[in-house]
Amino acid sequence: MADMREPIESGCPDPWQYMHPVMRKNFGMWKYHEHPRPGVLRHVAYSGDEIWTVRVGTQRILDLFTLRKLCDIGDQFADGYIHFTLRSNLEYVVSDASKVEPLIKAVEEAGFIVGGTQNSVTMISHTQGWLHCDIPGTDASGVVKSMMDELIDEFKNTNMPNRVHITTSCCQINCGGQGDIAINVQHTKPPKINHDLVANVCERPSVVARCPVAAIRPAMVNGKPSLEVDERKCICCGACFPPCPPMQINDAEHTKLAIWVGGNHSNARGKPTFQKLVAAGIPNNPPRWPEATAIVKRILKAYKEGARDWERVGEWIERIGWPRFFEEVELPFTKYHIDTWRGARASFNASNHIRF
């Protein structure tokens, strides 16, 4: 134990030391911003100072070569400061307008993508997937790479009615969060249980308690204490899998993708909204998941053509109605779209408000 070092519990570091001096000087004293071109923001302070931001899309899983390349660009063409957005976009900030064009050129020559501001389809926020998660039904980085390859023009331009946030999640816990469009794993079969391992690996009462629909109960199987699932009650959510790995939920064929729309975290106009199911049964098809991307593109096309300025995806659908949405994106409407969870009744149409 002699070499054991006591940690310094310093917690969250002070950002002041890493902040661009113009941002430090004008902290809390910004007056307005403009959007001179896609991927670039110009913020003006009451003091008259300006800061120019160039937003850059990357592969998010950065290797050291890429991280150092991004730092090199920051040193040579920006002022040596880097900010990251919530959606893992990288931002260079410079205090001088003349630095913007050379910076953009350097970024693009190095293979990174300038964009992601305002009414663009910005970077897909994503989770870990097969690269690092212990319970993933799919990959995340691969799905995102495949989709961004096809959506890159929408990242580089700002032609959408409002901003579009896309998210992905590799399990139904949904670490990816809420998005205008969300591509999430949806399991379709109950877990397959390895009864030989349950007693040794799983704390059985915790697993029983974890099930959202009380479908799991303790049982003796082949003379060993194990767990059994009432498959008539099971909703195939996979909540039992993390605390009990012998209850394998992932399946090469039956783990599917589902697409949800209309999640929005902003309070602008309406209150924040959760996303709603629109498509399921989509094959989990590596390495490029073409079926999921095709549906996302159909939704984006209909939204781009049909929505009015400032309408987010959910607001657009709210105006045109769900029947027309399903028509326009050519997706089937099924009994699975009707909510069965707590509070479901609030989603039923208790009126004669019908569009014809």
């Binding site: 940690p7 899983i61 040596g80 997937g129 097969w130 974890r210 959202p212 959510c237 390495p287 009015r308």
Partner: protein, 417 residues
């Protein structure tokens, strides 16, 4: 010594196309990095990932790894197919707290990269969904070495497991004219008050702080945080009428009517015949829409503060919950104001730690026991701002009504209303 590279025909397909490829990046570590340890580790990582792509299954399992003195902060990963991919058989992630607001210099990024190069796989992400820098891929021994090194120059682990998690805050006052609160101060004051609860998981489940400077809520605080802090203001919105006129001139009257006036959720705006704007500030809910459309003309007022929402979370277990209003408005000006913000968080976490069930988020506990009981538990008076509308069901025992009504009038009188 040349390594035997695993074939990766499926992953190779992720190297084409215009978006930067993470596979190409990992391959560079395998092929070009001078250190053999990194070549071998990323080679086996690619091998295992290819195996996942072929079989559509994940092959990592969790475990118990931390650093000396802490109980969390590491996401342990042990390979289930280590016999085939031994060099990445331990592939833990260190969750490291970023500076509030995610500001970096290239110098500090290089320093972190140099440390990681000594001990890790060479893969890093800014940032994970909880908000941490994720240093992805190292073994148990090097987890400690890497932490020791970066901890010496000011970096600390974030949360993992049932604990207070790494907090998140928007760029805010550093670069945004909408900012209504010192987000960085709120972020650090809150999370750094709970470093013990970050590093030693002992709560019912995770607890997240997120801070957004205005109602645009760029940090998804309402949807994802147990304790959401949102900047707002309570005096009048600032209107620069000359700039309003300029917007009308350049964008057109119809554009302003369709996109500003009629999109106001509480019909608090009207465009006058002389192209100036009238705002009914008592009806305005500070949703931010009109400020977003006309950032040069409209600004938050001077009497700034925060709204605090509690109980947001994602799906597991009872379904998604939004955070709901607990404190409609709170000034954060004096040191006492800031102290009382931290005290509020302490009270909530203490109450939840005592009353939450295992694996039950704060919002789920509130759902189970009822908002009114939660308010009583933490000593906060009910306020109509907490609701969309009052109850619709008559099924409640109300024989305490007279006392509750009297208490309301007393509070109103104290507040000078």
């Amino acid at each position: 010594m040349a390594i035997e590279k695993h074939p990766t025909p499926m992953l190779d397909q992720l190297e084409s196309g215009p978006w930067p490829s993470f596979i190409t990046g990992i391959k560079r570590l395998r092929d070009e990095h001078p250190e053999e340890r990194i070549n071998e580790m990323t080679n086996d990582l690619l091998g295992q990932l290819e195996h996942s792509y072929e079989t559509r299954k994940g092959y990592w399992k969790g475990g118990t790894v931390s650093v000396y003195g802490y109980g969390g902060g590491i996401i342990p990963r042990f390979s289930e197919v280590a016999h085939a991919f031994p060099k990445s058989k331990e592939f833990h992630t260190l969750r490291v707290q970023p500076p509030a607001g995610n500001h970096y210099t290239t110098a500090i990024l290089r320093q972190l990269a140099d440390s990681w190069e000594k001990y890790g796989s060479g893969l890093v992400t800014f940032h994970g969904q909880t908000g941490n820098i994720m240093f992805i891929g190292t073994d148990t021994k090097n987890t400690q070495h890497f932490f020791d090194e970066i901890n010496e120059y000011g970096w600390d682990l974030g949360g993992a497991g049932p604990c207070v998690r790494t907090a998140m805050s928007c760029v805010g006052a550093a670069r945004c004219e909408m900012s209504c609160v010192n987000e960085l101060k709120a972020h650090r004051l809150l999370v750094n008050n709970f470093t013990d609860d970050v590093h030693r998981p002992a709560l019912p489940y995770k607890f997240k702080f997120k801070i957004s400077g205005c109602g645009n809520d760029c940090q998804n605080a309402i949807e994802r945080a147990d304790f959401a802090v949102l900047g707002t203001w309570r005096d009048d919105m600032k209107v620069d009428q000359e700039e309003v006129k300029k917007y009308v001139q350049t964008k057109g009257r119809q554009y302003i009517i369709d996109n500003v006036i009629s999109r106001c959720p509480t019909q608090a705006l009207s465009l006058n015949d002389d192209d100036t704007l009238t705002v009914n500030n008592r009806d305005c809910v500070r949703c931010m829409h009109c400020l977003n459309v006309m950032p040069k003309a409209l600004h938050p007022g001077d009497d700034k503060g925060v709204t605090i929402c509690v109980g947001g979370k994602r799906t597991l277990k009872i379904g998604d919950l939004m955070g709901t209003v607990l404190i409609p408005f709170k000034k954060l000006e004096t040191e006492e104001d800031w102290e009382s913000l931290v005290e509020l968080a302490e009270n909530i976490i203490d109450f939840w730690a005592e009353n939450g069930l295992e694996h039950e988020r704060c919002g789920e506990m509130i759902e189970r026991i009822g908002l009114a009981n939660f308010l009583e538990g933490i000593g906060i008076d009910p306020d109509p701002n907490m609701l969309n509308h009052p109850r619709q069901s008559s099924y409640i025992r109300m024989d305490g009504w007279d006392e509750a009504a009297e208490a309301w009038f007393e509070r109103q009188a104290e507040a000078g209303k």
